[in-house]
Every structure is written in structure tokens, then in C-alpha cells.
């Protein structure tokens, strides 16, 4: 059955942001948030494939206990560069800089972000930071682990640490400026009638993310710079031989890098909060609780960092405090899952690809989030800390959660971004492939971890081999799941069916304008007279409303 209810034989609008101007200059000097989003799309995809290539080599290497492919030095570089490329140059910018950049002005009825030129500057800063890191990768590589723990990174490593930390330092300013841009835009550029509690939850999630960008990123930037200074000029910040303290580095590093996990997952939660009401065709359950939990996660997320350090010898009182706070941050996450699930109740649910990704996200985020409860448990963390249990846990959050959200979001808004529809059947196959491949890759790693296999091992005792082979087999399926969308999405840009303004249909403002939109986004500034995700009072969507339109209160709960 066709899941697209109204195939009206749409035509592309005659003028839109993609054909408004031509030539390489019109792209490299653009200040249009939609074009900048596409520039980011190309660059983060590039880093995703670099990181993915490293991951592939890691999994092939671990097929045999003694290592199948590379030397220990190379293996250590592979997992380090995999982490750095994926975290700093793919996961952190992916949803905010691509989907957030494209959608926030459209969703709030604005012509662009508040500072269009700064938005372009963010992308160039990202490129310069990325160039430094690629320089590090290609001249000696990087073998410190993405965590850059001192004094290994600042004294003992023989790899190209200095250009890498400079690159990440520079890249930090890209995040800070993007966050600033989003905050100012959301505060000042909402269309008439777009009140705070009519904002799409995607925008709320990005508001929360931006707070972390602005408050957290300066800390990682300065921390890595200090490690670089210690390495270059032997200034004693973290090296005990020079009077420093290596534990200080971990405090500073995790003060950003734990909230950074929420930078990755909050926008994905925002995507899911858009997809689920659209394909269940009903208002989201507990709007204020989902919006509020995003802010709660961003705020509490700043007070849990030392749960990465339970076994550094930190004070037992500190460990108790941080364990308790870590359990607190689980609660707003649980609230979101319960609300998404309840949204399905009495919905009109379809199997469209974005919905498959959203449901897959819930499943994988559920496992990722619940296994966080194991790690927050002080007594249990003694055993599973720094094992494959942790590796599996954060991949469930970052790949199962954030990447599923990102790919699902790309599918959901692809018709808006390109004006074209992707082949639906193929996309469903890819979504299921990703889900199955992901679980087969990472679930065995939970067991490996509990059995005691430490992370970052280029060789391992033979008793761990069976589970490692399962994991590698899963990774090959997972890789296929990523290549498929890559191929058919590019194919659809040229050959896909024309989507029309609102193919699903969805209720957000971004669906009220052309696909692809005009450079100025809207012909006239829209005025918002409806509540979010309200299908009942929206005769303009052309759906069958039983009993005719009538006004209902915005949220039953407030």
C-alpha cells in the first residue's frame, strides 16, 4: 500500500533556494542557512565515512585473538582516529548543524538564522579545525584515545597530538557560534503567534543543546589547549613530574565531554519527537514534559561528569554524589520514552521509513539508556568500568540513538530539503538492516564486557573470540545499512518523485512552504494560529476529521 496519501502529481516550484543562484561562489559565500546546512551535510558525511572506514578496520582486526590486520601501534591509532572523527566532526555537528541549521528558521517562521554570516563562519571554522585533524591523521596519526588522557597525551605519546588538539580547539568555536546563533534566533525571530509552547519539540531540543554548546565547549577547548601547551612547552598542568595532576585533566575533560553526549542525543530526541506525532497523526503526549525534560537533561547533565572517574581514586563522597546525580539524569530520559510510547496510543500509525527509524531509535535508546543505570551503579561500575560493556553502552546511545535519529530525520525532511521522495521500499529495507546489524554488532559487547574484556585492546585472550566474531559479522550488516541510504538518497535527488509541500502530511510550519523552500523561506511571514501537532483543527492538511473542526485546549495537562 502507498503510505503517501495524496500523490497529486506535484511539480517542483519554479524558484527555490537550490536554483536561486548558480556557481561555486554562490555556495561558498552563501549566507542562506539551508545552503550552509547542505555544506555541513557534505562535510559531516565525509568525516562519517572516514570514521566508518576506521571502524571497519577495527572490527576486521578483532576477528582473531592475536589481531588479524594491523600492528598494535596502528590499531591504537585506528580507534583513536575513529573516535575523534566520529565524535568531534560527525556526531556533535550532525543533527544541529545539518538539520537544525536547515529547519530552525523554517520551523519558527523566520527568514534565516539571526546571524547568517556567523553561520557561514561556523562552517569555515569547522573546516579549518577538520583540516588540522586530518593533518594529524595523515602525518603520524593519533594514538592517545579520543579522551586524550594525560600524561599519555601530553608527554608519552609519539603521535601527532599537537595538530589534533589544535584542530579540536578551533572546531570548538564552530560549536559555540552555532549554539549562540540558535539561542538568539529562537529568542528573537519567532513568527507572530509562535509562542514558546507552540515551538516544535525539535526546537526545544536544539535550545537545550545550544545551552551546552555555549557553556560546555569553551571548557574542552581550553583543556585540550592546556594539554597541548604541556606537550609543546613543558608547562606543568597535568604531568605530576612538573607538579601537575593528571586527574585534573579528567575533571576538565569530562566537564564538557559528558554533556557532549547530550549534545549528540538531545537533537535526536527532538527528531523523534517530530516524527512520532506525524506518523501517529495525533498530538504528542505530554508536550510540556518532553520540552521540560530536554532542559532538565541539559542542566543536570552538567553535574554528572565525575561518574567517569569512580576508579581514579577520587573521594568516595564525590563518587556517591556523582552516582546519585547520574541516576537523576536518567529520569527525564525515561519520561521522554514513556511519552513517545503513549503518543502511539489510539493513533493512526503508519509504517513509513521515518517512523521505522523513530521506533528503532526508541528501542536502541532504551537499551543504551538502561545500561547507563548499570554504569551509574557504583558497586557494579567497579567491574564493568573501561570494559566492552562501556563501549556497547555508548554506541547504543551515540550510534543507536543519535545516528538513528539523524538518518531518520534526513529521511523525514529529505522531501523538504530536496523536493524529492526517496524509494520507500528500499528505505524500509535499509532501516531494518541498520537495526538488525546494529544489535548484532553491539549486543555481544555487553557480554564481552561483563566477562571482563577491557576496551582498546588490539589482542585478547582466546575465550573472547566467539563474541568478537559475532560483533564483526554484525558490523558488516551495519555497514550495508549505511551504504544503502547513501546510494538511494543521492539517486533520489535526480530521479525521485516530486514530493510536494507536505507529503506526510505534518503540522509544522516548515511544511507550509514550498519543497524545496524559497531562499527567503516564506512568501509572506506566516502567522501561527494552531497548537503544535494538532491534526484535529487543521482542515488545511486535507485529512478526514471526524465531527468537524473544533477548538481543543492546547495541552490537557497544563
Amino acid at each position: 500500500m502507498s503510505s503517501i496519501p495524496f500523490d497529486k502529481g506535484n511539480e517542483l516550484p519554479s524558484e527555490h533556494y537550490l536554483n536561486a543562484t548558480y556557481g561555486i561562489r554562490s555556495w561558498l559565500l552563501t549566507t542562506d542557512h539551508k545552503r550552509i546546512a547542505l555544506l555541513y551535510l557534505a562535510s559531516v558525511t565525509f568525516f562519517f565515512f572516514i570514521g566508518g572506514a576506521f571502524a571497519t578496520m577495527i572490527r576486521i582486526h578483532l576477528l582473531t585473538p592475536n589481531g588479524y590486520l594491523v600492528t598494535p601501534e596502528t590499531y591504537n591509532k585506528l580507534f583513536t582516529m575513529h573516535g575523534v572523527a566520529m565524535i568531534f566532526f560527525f556526531l556533535i555537528p550532525s543533527i544541529p548543524a545539518v538539520l537544525g541549521n536547515f529547519l530552525i528558521p523554517l520551523m519558527i517562521g523566520a527568514k534565516d538564522l539571526a546571524f547568517p554570516k556567523i553561520n557561514l563562519l561556523s562552517w569555515y571554522i569547522y573546516l579549518v579545525g577538520g583540516a588540522f585533524v586530518l593533518y594529524s591523521f595523515s602525518t603520524g596519526g593519533l594514538d592517545t584515545g579520543w579522551t586524550f588522557y594525560t600524561p599519555l597525551s601530553s608527554v608519552y605519546s609519539n603521535s601527532a597530538v599537537t595538530p589534533a588538539v589544535i584542530g579540536i580547539f578551533i572546531n570548538g568555536f564552530s560549536s559555540i557560534l552555532t549554539g549562540l546563533n540558535f539561542i538568539v534566533t529562537i529568542h528573537t525571530m519567532r513568527a507572530p503567534g509562535m509562542t514558546w509552547f507552540r515551538l516544535p519539540l525539535f526546537v526545544w531540543a536544539h535550545y537545550a543543546t545550544s545551552i551546552i554548546f555555549v557553556l560546555g565547549t569553551p571548557v574542552i577547548a581550553i583543556t585540550l589547549l592546556l594539554a597541548g601547551l604541556e606537550r609543546m612547552f613543558h608547562l606543568g598542568f597535568f604531568n605530576p613530574v612538573l607538579g601537575g595532576d593528571p586527574i585534573l585533566f579528567q575533571h576538565l575533560f569530562w566537564f564538557y565531554s559528558h554533556p557532549a553526549v547530550y549534545i549528540m542525543i538531545l537533537p535526536a530526541m527532538g527528531v523523534v519527537s517530530e516524527i512520532i506525532p506525524t506518523f501517529a497523526r495525533k498530538p504528542i503526549f505530554g508536550y510540556t514534559f518532553i520540552a521540560g525534560s530536554s532542559i532538565a537533561i541539559a542542566v543536570i547533565g552538567f553535574f554528572v561528569w565525575a561518574h567517569h572517574m569512580f576508579l581514579t581514586g577520587e573521594s568516595a563522597y564525590a563518587a556517591l554524589t556523582f552516582s546519585l546525580l547520574s541516576y537523576l539524569v536518567a529520569i527525564p530520559s525515561a519520561v521522554k520514552v514513556f511519552n513517545w510510547t503513549s503518543t502511539l496510543y489510539k493513533g493512526s500509525i503508519s509504517y513509513d521509513t521515518p517512523m521505522l527509524y523513530a521506533l528503532g531509535f526508541i528501542g536502541l535508546f532504551l537499551i543504551g539508556g538502561l545500561t547507563g543505570l548499570f554504569l551509574a551503579c557504583l558497586g557494579l561500575d567497579i567491574h564493568i568500568h573501561d570494559t566492552y560493556f562501556v563501549v556497547a553502552h555508548f554506541h547504543y546511545i551515540m550510534v543507536g540513538g543519535a545516528v538513528m535519529g539523524y538518518v531518520g530525520g534526513l529521511h523525514f525532511w529529505w522531501p523538504k530539503i530536496t523536493g524529492k521522495l526517496y524509494p520507500e521500499m528500499m528505505a524500509r529495507v535499509a532501516a531494518v538492516t541498520l537495526f538488525v546489524g546494529f544489535n548484532l554488532t553491539f549486543f555481544p559487547q555487553f557480554i564481552l564486557g561483563y566477562l571482563g574484556m577491557p576496551r582498546r585492546y588490539h589482542s585478547y585472550p582466546p575465550e573472547f573470540q566467539v563474541l568478537n566474531v559475532m560483533s564483526t559479522a554484525g558490523a558488516s550488516i551495519l555497514a550495508l545499512g549505511y551504504l544503502l541510504p547513501m546510494i538511494y538518497l543521492i539517486w533520489s535527488m535526480r530521479y525521485g518523485r516530486v514530493a510536494g509541500r507536505n507529503p506526510w502530511p505534518a503540522t509544522g510550519l516548515e511544511w507550509q512552504t514550498d519543497s524545496p523552500p524559497l531562499t527567503e523561506n516564506f512568501d509572506v511571514t506566516p502567522e501561527v494560529t494552531w497548537e503544535p501537532y494538532d491534526y484535529y483543527n487543521r482542515p488545511d492538511l486535507g485529512l478526514e476529521i471526524k465531527g468537524g473542526p473544533q477548538l481543543t485546549p492546547a495541552h490537557g495537562d497544563d
Binding site: S3, P5, D143, Y149, P151, V155, Y156, S157, P240, D245, R281, K282, P283, G286, Y287, L311, G313, A316, A319, A334, V335, V337, F338, N339, T341, L344, Y345, K346, G347, S348, I349, S350, I362, L370, L373, F374, C377, L378, G379, L380, D381, I382, H383, H385, T387, L451, G452, P454, R455, R456, Y457, V466, D534, Y536, L543, E544, T552, P553, G556, D557
Partner: protein, 344 residues
């Protein structure tokens, strides 16, 4: 010991062989193992319940409310405050039980009993050295008696390492510039893997070895059988104390340029700034490498040189053992700097 794979092997044995190839948890060989595994079982049970409940709800709703006609919409339901309150409170209560269970085990793990057998462990890229109380040294091996509380006092020569024994369910970072301790009571004889769990550079993956848990009598025999070839740390420390000319200033009567070290270890020491510090391994370590950090009251700063880079961690451990051995000698009456009431 291992049954040959032949038709004579009973079915039960075969099943056990299959299970041992795909185990779900490592052997339980210390006092912590049953407690940690109990936490694992409890949290797994709660999580599996919630995961199944939510998955079941999603699957159920998916089939019950599957879109019947292409232009159908769903019911208008905006939320329910009672439900929200319920699923705020229930997870919070369950989370608190997990926190409490974990806290009990962790506090036990961090607070070593007083009657421990103390073994020094030094991590360096990429090997582990350990030293038994009688001075016997081992590399990438650790022998301990079953049923005895064992405390590892751990230092690092270079980067951060982590001493991890999955069968004991214990691990602890080994941090340069810090002493970290870790205790356990082996409950089962046998040989168990230990690993370095904190990434430490090129050969991180092979920086491991075996813990051998022995019957106390076997352990005693093993200790006496091989102790001759190794210097007692107290003797080595005494020699260092003279070689490095420590004894020229740290006179036993406290009248030298440095405080007396008789009865020093374990005492509460009054410092020049009026505060007190416990003279433990960490304080001795710091005073050797950064002598001006905490000056004992009544003595001048900038007198003692730093031994940073001149002493290995193992030598520092020997010196500490020697200073510890001075415990039995009487505190001189004029023992300047040692707070009179704080003795042990």
C-alpha cells in the same frame, strides 16, 4: 583433568563444555564477586522488565492502531498529569534502590579492613611489578593466599594504568603522582587473568598477567622458597636512606635539618602553616618529590632537594617501607614537629 572428547563422555559433561565456551559471567573468586553479581542480576531484572513492557506496548499499539484508511487521523489526547507523576516517581524510586545497593558495595571496596596483607604494585609501560611484604618481586604475576584480606598499594612510573581482575570484580586506576589502593579477599584458589584496563599506549593490550590464589600453606612455602634472591624492601630502603644522604639531615633525635623519621609513619604531623597531615605513603611520596609542598612545623623550607627523576617508584616504595619500619623505635622526647596526641 579435562574429559577427553569421546562417546564415553556423558551428556551432562558435554553440555557443561558448551556452556563454558559461552559463559555469561566470569568466575566468582573474591568476596566482592557475589555482591557485584547480585547488583547485576537486580538491575538486569528491573531493566528487562521495563524494556519488555515498553517494547510490548509499542508492538501492541502498532498493530492495534495501524492506519486503516490513508486519511485517518488519531485521537486527540494531549497528556495526563497523573501518568506523568507516576512515571516520574516510580523510576526515581527504583533508581534510588540501585544507587543504594551500589553505594554499599563501593564503600566496602574503598574502605580496606585493617588486617590486610599489603602488596606493592608498580605499573609501567607495559608491565606490572609487584612486591610481597618479604621483598619477593614478581613481574606480571601476583601470588596471594586464599581467604586473607589483601591490599594492593599501587603506583605508576609513567602514565595512568588500571589494575583489573575480572574474577575478583575489582579494578582501580594506577595514577602517576598518586597512591591508589585496592583490596579484596580471594575466596577460591586458581589462576585468574588480570588486565590493564586504562589505555596506556602501544602495548596496553598485553600489559596483563595472572593472579595465582593459593592455599595459605602453599603461599607460605612459595614465599620462603624464593625469597632469598630478592632484597627485603626495608633493607633496600635503609641502604637508599644512606646512599641518598637522607640520614645526614633526618637525625633520629630530631635535631638535624629535617624532622626525625622515628615513629613518623602513621603519625599526625603538624605543618608550618598550622594544619596537620597524616604521614602516610602519599605524604612520604610527595615529600620526596616536592619537599616544599608541606613543611613540618619548626623546620625550614628550601632545604631538602627534590628527588624527582632520581628515585623510581620502586625505590620510593622501599624508602617508605624503611620509614615504616622505624615505627618500633621510641619517639625522641624532643621529637619536634610530631603532634603529641596524634600517634596512630
Amino acid at each position: 583433568m579435562f574429559a577427553p572428547r569421546s562417546a564415553a563422555v556423558p551428556n551432562k559433561e558435554r553440555i557443561r563444555t558448551v556452556q563454558s565456551q559461552l559463559p555469561l559471567y566470569p568466575e566468582q573468586a573474591s568476596n566482592f564477586a557475589p555482591n557485584v553479581d547480585a547488583l547485576m542480576v537486580y538491575i538486569t531484572a528491573v531493566c528487562v522488565f521495563f524494556a519488555l513492557a515498553i517494547t510490548a506496548a509499542i508492538v501492541l499499539f502498532f498493530f492495534l492502531y495501524h492506519r486503516k484508511k490513508p486519511d485517518d487521523i488519531g485521537a486527540v489526547i494531549h497528556g495526563d498529569s497523573r501518568l506523568e507523576a507516576l512515571w516520574l516517581v516510580i523510576p526515581a524510586v527504583l533508581a534510588l534502590t540501585m544507587f543504594a545497593g551500589g553505594a554499599v558495595v563501593y564503600v566496602d571496596f574503598r574502605r580496606a579492613p585493617l588486617d590486610t596483607l599489603d602488596i606493592y604494585v608498580v605499573g609501567k609501560q607495559w608491565m606490572w611489578k609487584s612486591q610481597q611484604p618479604n621483598g619477593l618481586k614478581e613481574i606480571n604475576e601476583l601470588h596471594v593466599p586464599v581467604g586473607r584480606n589483601v591490599k594492593l598499594i599501587m603506583a605508576s612510573e609513567d602514565v595512568i594504568h588500571n589494575f583489573s581482575v575480572p574474577a575478583f570484580r575489582t579494578k582501580m586506576d594506577v595514577v602517576p603522582g598518586h597512591y591508589n589502593t585496592m583490596w579484596f579477599r580471594p575466596t577460591k584458589t586458581g589462576r585468574y587473568h588480570f588486565f590493564c584496563s586504562q589505555y596506556c599506549g602501544t602495548n596496553h593490550a598485553i600489559m596483563g598477567g595472572w593472579v595465582t590464589v593459593m592455599e595459605p600453606s602453599d603461599y607460605a612455602a612459595w614465599l620462603s622458597g624464593s625469597s632469598g634472591e630478592n632484597a627485603n624492601p626495608v633493607v633496600a630502603g635503609e641502604k637508599l636512606f644512606a646512599d641518598k644522604a637522607c640520614n645526614t639531615c633526618h637525625l633520629p633525635d630530631g635535631k638535624g635539618r629535617g624532622p626525625s623519621l622515628n615513629g613518623f609513619y602513621g603519625a599526625k604531623v603538624l605543618l608550618a602553616d598550622g594544619s596537620t597531615v597524616a604521614a602516610d605513603d602519599a605524604y612520604i611520596h610527595e615529600s620526596l618529590l616536592a619537599p616544599n609542598a608541606k613543611i613540618v612545623a619548626g623546620y625550614q623550607p628550601q632545604v631538602m632537594p627534590s628527588f624527582q627523576g632520581q628515585l623510581t617508584e620502586e625505590q620510593i616504595l622501599s624508602l617508605t617501607a624503611y620509614i615504616k619500619s622505624l615505627q618500633s623505635q621510641p619517639v625522641p622526647p624532643t621529637g619536634a614537629g610530631i603532634a603529641p596526641t596524634g600517634k596512630k
